[in-house]
Amino acid sequence: MTCAFEDDVVARFLDGDARDTDDAELGDHVRACPHCARALARSRHLDALVAATSGTEGGAAADRLLARAIAASRAPAPREFRARTVLLAGAAGFLLGLLAMRLLRTGRAPERAPPPPPALAGEQPAAPADMVLLPDADGTARARPRAIVAERQPSVERCAAVLDDPTLAVAVTMRARARALAAGWPAPTATAIDAAVAAVVETAGRTLLVERSAASLLPIARGIVRGGTAGAALAAAARAERSFVSRLRAALQADCADELCVLAARLGDADLDRRLLAICRRDARRADLVARACADAPEGVARAAFLLDLWAAVSRRGDDGVAHANDDAARARAWFPPLPPGATAELLHCLATTRSAEVRARVLLALGARADAAALPALFAMIEAPNAADAALAAYALGCYDASVAADLEHAARSSRRPELLWVARAAHGDGAIRARLAAIGCSPAEIDLLAAGPLPPEQIPAAAALLRPRLPSTYRP
């Protein structure tokens, strides 16, 4: 249902387009028409949100842009005859090149011969015209038939077999050939190729980082995903190279290679993260892949908060009710324990700042999955929280810790306003002492087996607490 005055109301009251004579009449209408009042409020809120999301870094970036622009505007303008000068210089260079080639062909080559290969210094065996000197793996120079040089050329196929990557193999080939030529060898040996393979994973990868071709993305991704020292160095270089990050983001599509998603997850860039969320919303299978990659992100790169976002993104795919809770607990156990230690602090920060009950629930499940001692104070505090659902999930999380927290649980239960939840968490340890205490307060063997069989599923915590509450000794009742 709409109101014919809606546009007028929004324009006049929100945009200051009112004529005073109409103001009173229109104001009366707004008070009487809930539709217009709602449209006005929503438009006002929308404008505020749009304005809030339009902030820029400003400051240094703005000063830098302006300084560059002013400096460039004061530089002398390009001269008209520049193109003609370049053409003339090119033509002159071409003519000089032709002259030099003609001189070489007539035998008046440079008098100084190229330096001998370093490995041959002292030996200087004369190589017949149909032979060529090549070093063996031990560096000894041997005369080989020129025909085999073709076999010893660093073929792309050989490099590809080592690197499992055709594009990177091309880079290796070029590098190895350049090194051989610089050393005076007609061609590199297989040993030289193998040595170049190790070096080029890092160095050629860095070169590929600033290439503009989309084909260079996958080799870099594989180089980083392969790991090792070279992979870590490549990852650091990739993270610092903004043009690479932009190209990677453009290449991240629903049908892109898994390696690109893994690489993007490891880099921890906010723009890439948004793209990953969009991809995982469409293809939940990728979420587990991305979550596993987050475990390999370097320390200090915030991944726990991103995983919470990812969790929210894939949880909106039609899950519901009890099945949803079970899936969530399983997801927490799969995603969060491998994260580095700093992830606990991130989760606690989210727990302290979020206003969303769903996010709090996920954080509590994640903290339980990690069972990190650093989170214990927050979990004990959450037991006393006004929100009963949060307290139940905190009890679940505490139940996931090992028996080293048993004494803390029992001590806290004596002064807690929800001792039954701490008893449920304590019961999850399943040791003989807690079984005896459960029996002492009147729990049946079947109930004891249920409570002491490990952490209960999150949705069963309130029922278990309700079972224990009336049976607790009076010293536990707040």
Binding site: D7, G16, S243, R247, A254, D309, T354
Partner: protein, 197 residues
Amino acid sequence: MNAARPQAPIGPEPCPEERAALAAARAGEAGALHALLRRHVDPLLALARRLVRDRHQAEDLTQETLLAACRGLDSFRGDASIRTWLFRILIRLAQDPGRWRGRPCPASALEPTDIPDAMHAEPPYTSLARELRARIDEAMERLPPRQRVALHLRAVEGMGYDAIAVVLGGSPGAARMTVLAARRTIRGRLGSYLEDA
């Protein structure tokens, strides 16, 4: 119902201080050009990011706009405000398909949303806040460019319809209809989010 009037929107005419700063910059006074343009850089950057969506391209576009403004300062007649003039330059430069849209930045449903990493008065770091920002940016990106610019100028810059009309070309009435259409479209796409707030 609180239907209080907003502050007067920014008009298209230059203010006296701006005219004085412009005259000083044209006279070549040291620092005058910087002082004249500095307060417009952030708004330019914000609009550029709405238009080209990539942070680095937005900075390039802003820098080219500033460069064009520095070089063309003498030809600026002063009929409009500096900011209106700068926005016009930026929009004209952004329409060059070979420069910005031709880059590997395909417009698809998966198009990334460029949200500033550090915002003024940023809400606490929460998933919901981030999601809401992402949804707003996504909805803005899906608007036709003209509507996107018009709503940005109205909601972010607080420009009046006559000033928006100068930037976009056309009449103030057409600018008003463009802003209303943009609001209606985004309200439709963000319905539940606006309800919840």
